[in-house]
Amino acid sequence: MAAAARHIDDTFAALADPTRRRVVELLRKRPYRAGELSGAFGMSAPAMSRHLRVLRNRGLIEEQRVDDDARIRVYRLRRERFDELQRWLETVESFWADQLSAFKRHAERTRPRKRR
């Protein structure tokens, strides 16, 4: 649990920046090369590289070599980090979903039905 919480903190810190959020949205579609990303954002290579480093250090993305050329690397999302977030969301949602279904049962048992 503590590790997951720490990860989620990292994720949040990494995504506090709008450019990095947009990078994540792009990478969701497919892996990108660093050059493609700086091009897509109209940003210098060093500036994009700083953003990619933050995302990588925080564990949101990873670098991958393209098979036949060791010089070319692509960046892709690390799915597991987003799965942790999803589990947290589901915990909160299920709290309220359980409450609402208990509320519904009680209301329909104790009040006249509106329908029919």
């Binding site: 649990m1 503590a2 997951a4 919480a5 720490r6 989620i8 903190d9 994720t11 949040f12 995504l15 506090a16 959020r21 994540v24 949205e25 969701r28 987003f82 977030l85 999803q86 947290w88 969301l89 589901e90 915990t91 909160v92 949602e93 709290f95 309220w96 979903a97 359980d98 409450q99 609402l100 279904s101 208990a102 509320f103 519904k104 049962r105 009680h106 209301a107 329909e108 104790t110 009040r111 006249p112 039905r113 509106k114 329908r115």
Partner: protein
């Protein structure tokens, strides 16, 4: 940034009744046990006390109470908004719950939005896996509305 966590149901009663059940019979339907209650170790009653300006509190038989939060908006049959603080929140830190009651052909649509996660400071101990009653699981992993919204927009949830 608006809704963080949203859930909804349709209840087969009219909106005035739905509001009344939600706010005046809270203890009868609000689920029990450590996942849902703030004072889970003793018999206790959870209730909305008063209207706007009042409070949502849980009180045990000995009279000790836990204030979940102030009631911010009270519009019978329409809208309820209240602060929501769990045990480990510090002063000034709160989240907000909004409950809307809307008439629909089958009865009343009741929607809950829970937001304001960004108000918890980054170093808040509640975010780091401490165990405890209601909502600790949830706030042990603090999250911002911003991110929830991002996840939704980006379709990163499998649901």
């Amino acid at each position: 940034m608006t809704a963080a966590i949203s859930v909804t149901t349709i209840v087969d009663v009219d909106r005035q009744d739905a509001f009344e059940v939600f706010t005046r019979e809270t203890d009868s339907w609000w689920r029990r046990g450590p996942r849902f209650r703030f004072l889970p170790d003793v018999p206790a009653t959870l209730r909305f006390e008063g209207e706007a300006g009042g409070r949502l509190i849980e009180v045990d038989e000995a009279g000790s109470e836990f204030e979940v939060g102030r009631i911010l908006v009270w519009k019978p049959g329409e809208l309820l908004r209240f602060e929501f603080r769990a045990l480990r929140f510090e002063p000034g830190q709160t989240t907000e719950v909004e409950v809307r009651f809307e008439p629909v052909p089958g009865g009343t649509r009741v929607s809950i939005d829970h937001r304001g996660w960004e108000s918890l400071a980054e170093d808040h101990p509640a975010r780091h896996g401490l165990t405890g009653p209601a909502f600790d699981d949830m706030i042990s992993v603090w999250w911002g509305d911003l991110l929830v919204s991002l996840l939704r927009r980006a379709g990163l949830r499998s649901a």
